[in-house]
């Protein structure tokens, strides 16, 4: 298993595209924060200290939704790049146990996802706190579940990356994986939810996951429960992908 993880890391780190996507996580997150900060100025600048609390959290966590799309793509590409180039056959030559191969990919995607999300958050939170401070709003991480929301955002992004890996494995092609991975969290889930009963639409993966970085906590969906639901969906997706991958012919694509 250690060999498989080491191999995955070399595969990931030896592609420039990987680093571009890691950098994009921070760039998108920071841009979203800066945008939210400027909106905060115009829309909420005159708000009173009491109503501005939740909005401050929103500034700090506003990058999560857009950035999660980058994460989904990052996760999907870790699998689909190998399918597209067919280099997967060299991977299974060294590691014939396909479950090991996927587990190693999940470790790398999850690990990279967390590190990239932490870096993005450190920079963005700093910018947000300084920016809000200049506007006369003090932000302490002990306020309004703020620390939990930031931590929840990091978990949300890391799980999104794993979800993307799952989509990649199931779709088995970079183009369809990226298409599904971007449209599902952005629009697909909302569309599907509109025809679903309320209880079901509440536990859709990204919808539930977003509870992790909302503050104050959403009614009827405690943050970590939402996170657990998102993680459960992701686990199911990865399991389904694994079962599909086990049966697949890798050389004849």
């Amino acid at each position: 298993m250690n060999n498989a993880i080491r191999a995955e890391w070399i595969k990931f780190s030896s592609l420039r595209g990987s680093w571009i996507r890691v950098a994009l996580v921070t760039v998108v997150y920071v841009l979203a924060t800066v945008m939210a900060l400027s909106l905060f100025n115009s829309d909420f600048g005159s708000a009173s200290e009491s109503t501005a609390g939740p909005d401050r959290v929103r500034v700090l966590t506003s990058g999560n939704i857009l950035t999660s799309l980058v994460m989904v793509v990052l996760g999907a590409k870790v699998f689909t790049d190998e399918i597209k180039s067919r280099s997967i056959i060299n991977s299974v030559a060294a590691i014939p146990d396909r479950a090991d191969l996927l587990a190693a990919k999940a470790v790398i995607v999850g690990g990279v996802g967390i590190v990239a999300a932490v870096i993005a958050n450190v920079i963005s939170v700093t910018i947000a706190v300084v920016g809000l401070d200049q506007k006369g709003f003090s932000v302490g991480l002990q306020d309004d579940d703020l620390a939990r929301a930031v931590l929840g955002g990091i978990c949300y992004l890391a799980i999104a990356a794993l979800f993307g890996l799952g989509i990649g494995i199931v779709m088995n092609s970079p183009t369809s994986a990226v298409a599904v991975g971007i449209t599902w969290p952005l629009a697909g889930e909302v569309m599907v939810s509109s025809v679903l009963p309320d209880w079901l639409s509440k536990i859709m993966p990204f919808e539930a996951g977003r509870a992790m970085f909302e503050a104050p906590a959403r009614d009827g969906m405690p943050p970590w429960e939402g996170g657990a639901i998102f993680l459960a969906w992701t686990a199911v997706l990865l399991l389904v992908g694994w079962r599909m991958f086990e049966r697949r012919d890798l050389g004849s694509s």
């Binding site: 060999n3 498989a4 080491r6 191999a7 890391w9 070399i10 595969k11 030896s14 592609l15 420039r16 595209g17 790049d81 190998e82 180039s85 067919r86 280099s87 997967i88 056959i89 060299n90 991977s91 299974v92 030559a93 060294a94 590691i95 014939p96 146990d97 049966r247 697949r248 012919d249 890798l250 050389g251 004849s252």
Partner: protein, 309 residues
Amino acid sequence: MAIVTHGLTKRYGKKLAVDDLDVVVDAGRITGFLGPNGAGKTTAMRLMLDIDRADAGTVTFDGVPHGQLEAPLRTVGAMVDANALDPNRSAEATLRCVAAGAGLAKGRVDEVLELTGMTTAAKRKVGGFSLGMRQRLGIAIAILGDPAYLMLDEPTNGLDPEGIHWIREFLGAAAANGCGVLVSSHLLSELSLYVDQLIVIGKGRLITTGTVEEFTHRYTSDLTTVRSPKLDELVPLIEERGGRVTRNDSGIEVTSMTAAQIGDLAALYQIPLHELHTVDDSLETAFLEATASAQEYRTSTDTTPDASS
């Protein structure tokens, strides 16, 4: 010590790509895997390596199924698709990925780069490689684990004469060191230069196995064409001695008798010969003969095996 397949079967949709295939690849020998394009050679190799999942049948390496091998890359190294490389990775990084997965020492990557003459291209991205260079890198991956068995699908494809020579020398040395080599080709003339053993398949089915000599002997018959102004005298003499004669426009064709025997006979009876020529049925002919009924895409004009795809 061998790779043994038993009842190996693979179906793609309605088409049986590999049909109940039983083959043995011995250690310490070079086995040629021969068949027209589309015969199922590559598919069979993929099944042996568990890259594609067989519908039925078993494959064992010294008795152990691929999935249970302790050190898969040290047991079998393969190149079944020279283009199965990420174009955005350097040759060295490509090898390091595989080496890490197999738990091989770092130094081994440099060794195989050196062995395959890829050292100077090590840092270059695979995307810019010619087919010949991809082929070399593919071989580098195959030999990375210094495996007990090597499986190479059309390894000389895209190599220059020097590269082809190198492959032959390399495989010969590997076999001499006890490595069991399976090397596929649709060209018998090429394989016959360096293989010890042949496995011939067509339409996914085993046609024959044996040495090149056995194969040639079984599927070729020496045919001698003879022209002479006194054929009427010669023919009965030949037939008396067991030769079989068929007449054609310009002369006769004789089988079951060598050109030397016919020449001596003619000299003995002072019959002038204007032509005495053995049509040395080439290995290609033998191969065509053997696979004729199994050729999938054969047309009236395509009679060469490599023109069939």
